[in-house]
């Protein structure tokens, strides 16, 4: 589904639905999971992943932050790298889960592994894993200074944190019947890092009968009240052009290998982007963006970001179904503009 709900769903008969929640571990209290021939197990500090050609370990906090995004974003666009080994590729209806697919050393040694899953089946087992492995007090959407720790044995759960619905405006935030603006009353206080952001509303003076069409809202105030980090949500829609602003703090928990060009406009403060080759993982550039800077991430890279001061970022996506076809046929452009 990615950011748009209109993304076509391409099902395939050979996509696996073979997933399984396994028994509880007596020592840690966590459940293990089998996803096709991938195995997932967590303990006090780590997620342990096995696959036919190897095994892999990730720090559990990083794993849960990445899994949370993959679940919340419906596998997003293109590749969601949990780290340099593990990740998913969205085919919009089916999803490839892989180990080492975008890692030169794994592929050159023939040690990479991938399986195609039915999106709904993979999403269901991912949600179950996320629910079982997230303890009370740990919010995988929050900045490190705003949440408890991910470590330790099984200790309660945090369904509120992991169950947040991603906001998807149909036309624009604040329009009647569309996503509402955020207020204290509906549970969105101003974040500590945006305490100085003006909360004034625009002056809106519709003539009688045009109350539904003459509409404006304070987008920066809206973003100052976001309770999550690195979680773009659609705020305005022109055809398939989606403004997906988000508030960012600390590190983007995934390395995103978009399958199409993706634009960033820095609304406030500053983010450093680490850009690597999408396939090999080799560093290509670093992009420092300050307020007002706009730049594009090419379709052949992966990127992760760093934001010390919580910042406001406009992620601009093109959710056009035609791009899915262009990607499938290998004709999607790598850069959106040549000059």
């Amino acid at each position: 589904m990615a950011m748009s709900n209109d993304t076509p769903t391409i099902t395939r008969d050979d996509a696996s639905k073979d997933t399984e929640a396994l028994g509880l571990d007596n020592a840690t209290g966590y459940r293990a999971f089998r996803v096709g021939s991938f195995g997932f197990r967590r303990d006090e500090y780590f997620a342990h992943i096995t696959f036919p050609s190897g095994n892999h370990v990730m720090s559990i906090d990083a794993f849960l932050r990445a899994l949370m995004r993959d679940v919340a974003w419906g596998f997003f666009y293109g590749t969601v790298n949990f780290d340099h080994v593990l990740g998913t590729v969205n085919h919009y209806g089916t999803v490839t889960m892989f180990a080492g697919k975008f890692n030169d050393a794994y592929t050159q040694a023939g040690r990479d592994h991938e399986e195609l899953f039915d999106s709904a089946a993979l999403m269901a087992i991912f949600k179950e894993m996320l629910a079982d492995w997230t303890n009370e007090g740990f919010d995988p959407f929050a900045a490190p200074m705003e949440t408890g720790l991910a470590w330790g044995g099984k200790n309660g759960a945090n369904p509120d944190a992991i169950g947040r619905e991603r906001v998807t405006a149909k036309r624009m935030v604040g329009l009647p019947g569309d996503t509402p603006v955020r207020t204290d009353e509906i549970g969105f206080p101003v974040n500590r890092q945006f305490a100085d952001v003006p909360q004034d509303a625009p002056t809106v003076e519709p003539e009688p009968g045009f109350e539904n069409e003459v509409s404006a809202y304070n987008l920066f105030a809206y973003l100052s009240r976001s309770d999550v980090t690195w979680n773009p949500s659609v705020c305005s829609v022109v055809g398939e052009s989606l403004f997906c602003p988000t508030s960012e703090e600390y590190i983007l928990p995934i390395d995103h290998g978009n399958d199409r060009a993706e634009w960033f406009l820095q609304f406030s403060d500053e983010i450093d982007w680490d850009v690597k080759d999408r396939v090999t993982g080799k560093p290509r550039a670093r992009v420092k963006m300050k307020a007002g800077d706009i730049a594009c991430m090419p379709a052949d890279i992966r990127h992760t970001g760093y934001s010390t001061k919580r910042s406001m970022l406009l992620v601009w996506e093109n959710g056009s179904p035609k791009i899915v076809d262009l990607i499938a046929s290998g004709e999607a452009p790598v850069v959106p503009v040549t000059f």
Binding site: E213, D269, K288, I294
Partner: protein
Amino acid sequence: MTITTRFGSLRDYEKGRVTIINDNPRNYVFSNVFEVADTSAPYERIAVGKNFEYVIEAFRAEGDSPWYSAAHDEFVVAMDGEIEVHLVKLDDPDAVVAPDSQGAHRLPGDPEGRKMGRIVLRRGHMAMLPVGSAYRLSAAEPAAAIMQTILGPETVEKWATICQTEA
């Protein structure tokens, strides 16, 4: 510790940059909306982002703009200063802009239709410029804004001028 959220403005912005390890800076189409707005004519709608037919335009609002209309919604976000938006419901929108056309079109004169209302935007405010309407912007002092729209006859592309080209 006092928190200071840093927004940019026409008078006070800092640009970041692309530092190349193994790439071409042009691939990142890196510019800054305040710089673009500051160095262009008022209401020159400069494409600063483009994704197939879709664009983000940056512009400086200063004085009154022409009237515009589009065959689809557009959204404007004020980035600096204060911008007034006037909206008119067109009596015959298809006569003003072809229904299958894209992007903003400049009207030759004043639009025919009913007054819809007025909006005043300050920094960070987003307004809808709904399909079927015409709009005019005005700003007493120089202001900066971006527009979410589709590439159209008013869109100016001058990428080599605005973007980082040197590593």
